[in-house]
């Protein structure tokens, strides 16, 4: 840096800037007013249309061998998995945020196990997620509002087991074999799908919220963690 550049930096420290106003509360008010329902209604309509078409066409009917619908999630067994790669658990969920910002963006307060205070949260409209640690292993907790499908789980291998579990109103435990997670997000006219390979998953519905835990835990560990969240 030249002397002139150093002089400019020094000058910058001596400048009179107006004090920064606290405009965050006003931003919050405007965001609270925002209509987030419309894109989700669009997603439901799209999902219903896609499902209708899929079930009406014989080859498609055989391609979707069976499916479970659980709150905001749909679990499908398909003849062939869509292409997907290993990615971080929070891939596709946007930048890391502090809890307050994430809850504001998601329009959803997150429920956490008692005594757990994660630092990084991820949010999309109607969805909030964070990393937990259980037995030293990372687990992604996601919570989704309402029953609009934004999450698709696809598996093809007979090695994948899908078992109902006694958790909340209804729960599913998915383990074994490769399976693919697809987040489907809609922002006005922009439709975005994030895909990755997923690990062991526990899904359950409780009081209109779909909960999802994913990580390298066994069923009993996952259930123990889940019961700390919704009791």
């Amino acid at each position: 840096m030249t002397e002139l550049e150093r002089a400019l930096v020094a000058l910058g420290n001596e400048l009179e800037f107006p004090p920064t106003p606290d405009f965050w509360p006003r931003v919050g008010e405007r965001l609270q007013r925002r209509r987030w329902v419309r894109p989700l209604v669009f997603a439901v309509a799209l999902g219903a249309l896609a499902l209708g078409v899929a079930m009406a066409v014989p080859p498609a009917r055989s391609a979707i061998l069976r499916f479970f619908h659980l709150g905001s999630a749909t679990v499908q067994q398909v003849a062939k998995l869509p292409p997907a790669q290993q990615r971080p658990l929070a891939a596709g969920l946007g930048p890391a945020l502090v809890r307050e910002d994430a809850e504001m963006y998601a329009h959803l307060g997150i429920r956490l196990p008692k005594g757990v205070t994660p630092q990084r949260f991820y949010a999309q409209p109607g969805l909030i997620a964070t990393y937990l640690s259980y037995g030293g292993k990372p687990v992604l907790l996601s919570e989704l509002k309402g029953d609009q499908t934004v999450l698709f789980k696809k598996f093809a291998s007979p090695a994948t087991s899908v078992q109902p579990v006694d958790l909340g109103e209804f729960g599913l435990w998915l383990v074994g074999g490769p399976h693919v997670l697809m987040w489907q997000f809609n922002f006005g006219r922009i439709h975005r799908v994030e895909t990755r390979l997923a690990g062991n998953v526990l899904l359950w519905l409780d009081k209109d919220i779909t909960y999802r835990l994913e990580g390298d835990l066994d069923k009993s560990q996952m259930l123990a963690l889940a019961r700390q969240i919704t009791r």
Binding site: T2, E3, L4, E5, R6, A7, L8, V9, A10, L11, G12, N13, E14, L15, E16, F17, P18, T20, P21, D22, F23, W24, R26, V27, R30, L31, R34, A91, G92, G94, P95, L97, V98, E100, D101, M104, Y105, A123, Q124, P125, F185, F187, I190, R192
Partner: protein, 156 residues
């Protein structure tokens, strides 16, 4: 995003040179950034992405009529030039030199003044300046070089 209120407001102020416009631009920029958060490219630096949205809002306001202020020195700085010992950074410049250099900055063409202000007054990197102003890095470098050349005459 809380953490970026200060830098967002100052970025808007450097461009709009009007506190009311800067506040509006920063606020609108934050709202737009929130709504576009899902389109934010994962792994990309967040600050310049946010500042680019705020800077766009500020530029839109510059096009409208309104009083535009020049950057000014703090009153205490001007008064202290003959009084208490200045900070090591401030000691680089005498009171007269500070005023002269600032006048020279204020008289630069807007594009050069904005690049210089973001780079040296707000401490953004060249890459961040480029992303904030949505111009190529080379443009930031050339505008900076031209501005420094013009200032050198005033400073030397």
């Amino acid at each position: 995003m809380h953490a970026y209120q200060g830098i967002a407001f100052r970025t808007a102020y450097v461009i709009a040179r009007n506190a009311a416009d800067a506040e509006e631009a920063a606020q609108d920029g934050f709202v737009k950034a929130w709504r576009a958060l899902g389109r934010f490219r994962e792994g990309a630096p967040f600050r310049p992405w946010l500042l680019q949205i705020v800077a766009n809002e500020a530029r839109n306001r510059v096009r409208s009529a309104g009083r535009r202020a020049s950057l000014a020195l703090r009153a205490a700085t001007e008064e202290s030039s003959g009084g208490a010992a200045p900070s090591p950074e401030a000691a680089l410049l005498s009171g007269e030199q500070r005023a002269g250099l600032l006048a020279a900055v204020n008289s630069l063409p807007e594009e050069q003044r904005t690049v210089l202000s973001l780079r040296y007054f707000l401490g953004l990197s060249e890459q961040e300046v480029a992303e904030t102003l949505d111009v190529p890095l080379g443009t930031v470098k050339s505008r900076t070089a031209r501005a420094l050349e013009r200032l050198r005459e005033s400073y030397d």
